[in-house]
Amino acid sequence: MPLSNLIAETAERFAEKTALIFPGQSISFGSLYLQSRQIATRLQKLGIGPGARVAILHENALAPVIFFWGILASGAQVVDVPCLAGIQTVDEILAECNPSAIVLSAHQHERLLRAGTKSLPGIVLTEAPAPVNSTIRSYHSLSEIVASEPSSATLPTVQDSSAALIIYTSGTTGRPKGVMLSHRNLLTNITAANSRVGLTSDDSILVVVPLHFIHGRMQLLTHAMIGGTMAFSEGFHFPQRVVHELAKYQVTGFSGTPYHFYTLLERTNLANIPLPYLRYVLVTGGAMHPDGLISLARILPGVEIHVAYGQTEASPRITYLGPLEVLGNPESSGRPLPGVLVQILAEDGSELPPGTVGEVVASGPNIMCGYVSGDETISQKIDSFGRLHTGDIGRFDHHGHLYLAGRKSDLIKSAGERVFPREVESVLDMHPDVRESAVLGIPDRILGEKIVACVVLKPGATIDADELRTHCLKFLPLVRAPREILFTRGLPKTESGKIDRRGVVAHFNELRRAKAA
């Protein structure tokens, strides 16, 4: 079944029910469905349908969600572009996936035009009519489409196995990777995940994560499937306001990364605001320390705590831990979802028994179609059996619970963002004063891991850490930039001359101690 059927079926059952609430705006499932079909009709007239791609570069708002459903209804693929990505990264993404059209917010439109982005598609979709006269591009606004297009046109059908959504995430080489997820990938995963979490049309959720993350898209698709209302936060910048939003919208659910929950625990008066409607919270996007889960249970008595583990390439959920087991096994990531096979493999590829640590490998109908770059097998992310190599190290216990124990790859998870060191190192190394650099993640209570860097300067260079961070911010959003930079005379190397990642951790800690002394 194509994903657009989710909204069609729910609109039939709950036409008048509120689907989405944004500050000052809302829409019913019925209107959302009709408007999405009007958009699909316009896209069809523009020659955009199955096989084509339409990018979305837009902060959370009502218009891009309507466009999202319209793009899916047209049979085209949605390409999510991270809003805080630097211009160079946006250019790389657009050049790689070559979308026929792009949905832009006014802010992103102005930013891309100012930067003279070369890869901007010829068709631009916006919420309100764009104040530009262009002979190069055609502009189409939501208000104009809704005022002029019929909603009854015949739309093309798409294969379940075809890509529905492309989400860009950090790649090991430093270049962003476009993860292609099919209609079947996503539908089977939201169905399997919801068979465990058990949401119904009585449920509603407060959304704080950007929709261009798989975490955001998962919430959108799940609530379209169940007919649940989604209320969108004004942003996580002011965590106390988020607590008031939980109360104001009377939501039954909240889903966040450990970063979100630690911030709510430490920077709000969550314990003092009555939340009688809140039924469950879902922790995902990284492991929360058992102390954090226990604090959460204490501050939110009677609220179910669910934990999920996964990654974008798995659409995204792999394992799940329910509220009856969370506090008894707070260090576990749970059991595999229905239909998902999880194995622990040794270095030689053989399967390891419970209790033995190895790489976590997953297979099932949720595993991505591939990367846009097509190198999923060359990069050994997908093996010859079609299994996803997560890069995480873990073990099963004898009850089938998965416990993660580290990473095989150099991946850093900071504030729920996936960052490979090479992405940050390539930016540091671009500075003319830098000879080489090594980036690593060190444990941080709020962020999960803090991105830090050891840098070797060229002889005679005088740049300081603040100036180097300013340089990084020209290319990276704050969440991906190093929060601490220490200088060193040389980096630990392996015998083959590569950076010794484990050695760098110890070296960084030595530099820190020396600086503090």
Binding site: E234, H237, F238, R267, T470, L473, K474, L478
Partner: protein
Amino acid sequence: MNIASEILSYIRTQLSADVAHIDLDCNLWTEGYLDSTAILELILWLESSYNITVQNEELTPENFATLRNIEEFVQRSMARAVSDTLPARA
């Protein structure tokens, strides 16, 4: 340099290079200039730079949405810190 200029300089060099064109009343958070992790770094910097303490309930858009809001909040907090150190009248 006044407080607003100092804060802008810090944001521009340590939190986001994308804020070159903002004025005193531009909303730093809704325009997509800063991600949510920036607020915690900004608070740590304000606390150490101006010797003030930011309480959880003070972390609101009214105090932190714009450069002007932040400047006024810092001025109020500094004045409060001074009055807290003065001996109470008998």
